[in-house]
């Protein structure tokens, strides 16, 4: 067991180094379009997993991710724009004099954004996490919109509906890869600790979990805050990648992207969130062929126009949910043990019972 642990740890390190090498390659050799998709996949993976902590692991149906992302993104937007460019950004209403000279490097702004998102989540969670199921979803959705509306109206801080431009653009796969890797490692460590097991207990049976001495409120709030923290980090990276933040980027519909990622990848699976993020993000890009006019033998097919992509995607999603209810991974995880076992005895999932010796 211990020997396997050491081997798995080494394999993980090697995999990370290989992936980092790959991200250096993508950064140096691949065109900007692909690079952008890779960046988006990575960022969406962070936010997807953060959402999976509350929804998949703690079993609390929360739809507030867009709001927490907005907090992170605005933290980056407000504090990383170079001081001398700020007058250009805030041309309608001048920026609040207390903030105008505060500058933060990106990494600090990301962490501060995460922390602020977690604090806001803590405040929201206190009343809201007493709710269950659909009610919780509606309440968190509402709070996510409230956050966005506050941002739209805090003109001197956030430049209101005009958004913030001139954010030093972060178009570096390596940086985003490292941020993703660190976030994933931290979230995985938390989820595999005793606290992560307590989250799962709450998901499985709240009454039994409570009878086992797990304080529902503390643990739900913890899951919610950690989730918001990483959503804030992801949102900050998203803002930095786009180079601009605008309240309209953080409509509640954004949350559904991540809901899609975790439903497709598997509620309660870390590796599933990663897979889901890649499939959804890359899939949405490659389905763009449906948005372009198509002519077959000189006849224009009338359906092929902007928007068809989303129709096709929705149908694919419905098929997935109908026939593959637990997503790709369910609550299972990819592990080195399983991979090695599979390579040794490839059974293609047909025979589940392996004889015990």
């Amino acid at each position: 067991m211990n020997k396997n642990g050491k081997r798995n740890f080494l394999l993980t390190v090697v995999a990370l180094i290989v992936l980092f090498g790959l991200s250096c390659f993508v950064q140096g050799e691949v065109d900007a379009y692909i690079r952008r998709i890779v960046n988006l996949c990575l960022i969406y993976a962070i936010i997807g997993l953060s959402m999976n902590i509350t929804n998949g692991f703690a079993g609390q149906f929360s739809l507030g991710q867009a709001g927490f992302m907005a907090i992170g993104a605005y933290m980056v937007g407000i504090f990383t724009v170079p001081v001398n460019l700020r007058a250009d950004v805030f041309y309608a209403v001048p920026m609040n004099p207390h903030l105008v000279n505060i500058y933060m490097p990106l990494w600090l702004a990301l962490i501060m954004g995460g922390i602020l998102a977690a604090i806001v989540a803590g405040l929201i969670g206190t009343p809201v996490l007493r709710l269950r199921g659909d009610y919780l979803a509606i309440a968190t959705l509402g709070f996510s919109e409230i956050i966005r509306i506050i941002i739209t109206n805090a003109n001197t801080i956030t430049n209101g509906a005009l958004g913030i431009k001139n954010i030093p653009s972060l178009n570096d796969v390596r940086y985003i890869f490292l941020a993703t890797a660190v976030s994933y490692i931290l979230m995985t460590l938390l989820l595999s600790s005793s606290y992560g097991r307590a989250f799962k207990a709450i998901r499985e049976d709240e009454i039994a979990a409570e009878a086992m001495g797990i304080n529902l409120f503390h643990h739900k709030n913890l899951a919610f805050m950690v989730s918001a923290f990483f959503a804030g980090i992801g949102g900050g990276l998203y803002g930095a990648l786009l180079g601009t933040v605008d309240p309209k980027n953080f409509l509640f519909t954004l949350t559904y992207n991540f809901l899609l990622i975790i439903v497709l990848g598997g509620m309660g699976s870390v590796t599933g969130s990663m897979l889901g993020a890649v499939i959804v993000t890359a899939g949405l890009e490659y389905l763009r062929i449906f948005d372009e006019p198509l002519e077959i033998m000189g006849v224009a097919i009338p359906l092929f126009r902007p928007g068809l992509r989303m129709v096709v995607f929705s149908v694919l999603l419905m098929v997935c949910v109908l026939f593959w209810r637990h997503g790709i991974m369910g609550t299972k995880e990819f592990t080195w043990d399983k991979l090695i076992n599979f390579l040794k005895h490839p059974n293609f999932g047909r025979k589940k019972e392996v004889q015990r010796k």
């Binding site: 460590l189 600790s193 005793s194 097991r197 049976d205 009454i207 409570e210 009878a211 086992m212 001495g213």
Partner: protein, 263 residues
Amino acid sequence: MTQNVLRTEHVTQRFGGVIAVNDLNIEVNEHEIIALIGPNGAGKTTAFNDITGVYRPTQGRVIYTGKDGKEIDITGKKPSDIATLGVARTFQNIRLFKDLSVYENVLIATHLHLKSNFLSAMFRLPWYRQEEARMHETVERFLKEVNLWDVRNEKASSLPYGRQRYLEIIRALATDPKLLLLDEPAAGMNPKETAELTEFIRRIRDEHNLTILMIEHHMDLVMEISDRIYVLDFGNTIAKGDPAAIQNNERVITAYLGEDEDA
């Protein structure tokens, strides 16, 4: 005189117009096995829920004596706080964490005594790792005790019914309780299994120095191991006493068998 571990004082539970439990006064002394019996709908499980904090009693108090020997009023406290004080329970309709493994089920029960906060857990700081190692030792000990060690990686729901009962009891024991509440532990068991369970309950009482309060319908089990019995009917306590006295109690016989019409 031995000390009370649990005492309910005039506990009454109303649901709208229904009085589920009426003026319940139970005393459970250290190291005793007390049975709570009565026909269906007598309010036994409601009494359990009042004691463990699932419901807040409409009236009355629940007094528990903790491991430090001090009396604590636990009326209306949160179930998780009551569990942390040392009151563990099982459920009438088994409530395992179905999709988790047998091992995880018991491991989760050791979470309540974890002192490290979530950051120490996330960064795997040395004191967290020590605690985690101890948790794993506890789980291994308990699972070996009931021969569930070999199936530790199976899903809890895949175990046979009887084994699930044992797993639930072991999970409750892993919280390191002083008082254990068993809600129909022998439900659905055949006479042989019931006899085994009787032996098991007695054994854990002695080995883990427990006090046990249980609801049970299997009279052979109840009569064999209970020190004292409380009989409930329609929320009222109609009898209490040792097994022999209960067996011959007129009111108990009437409650169970109904009124004799010729009389």
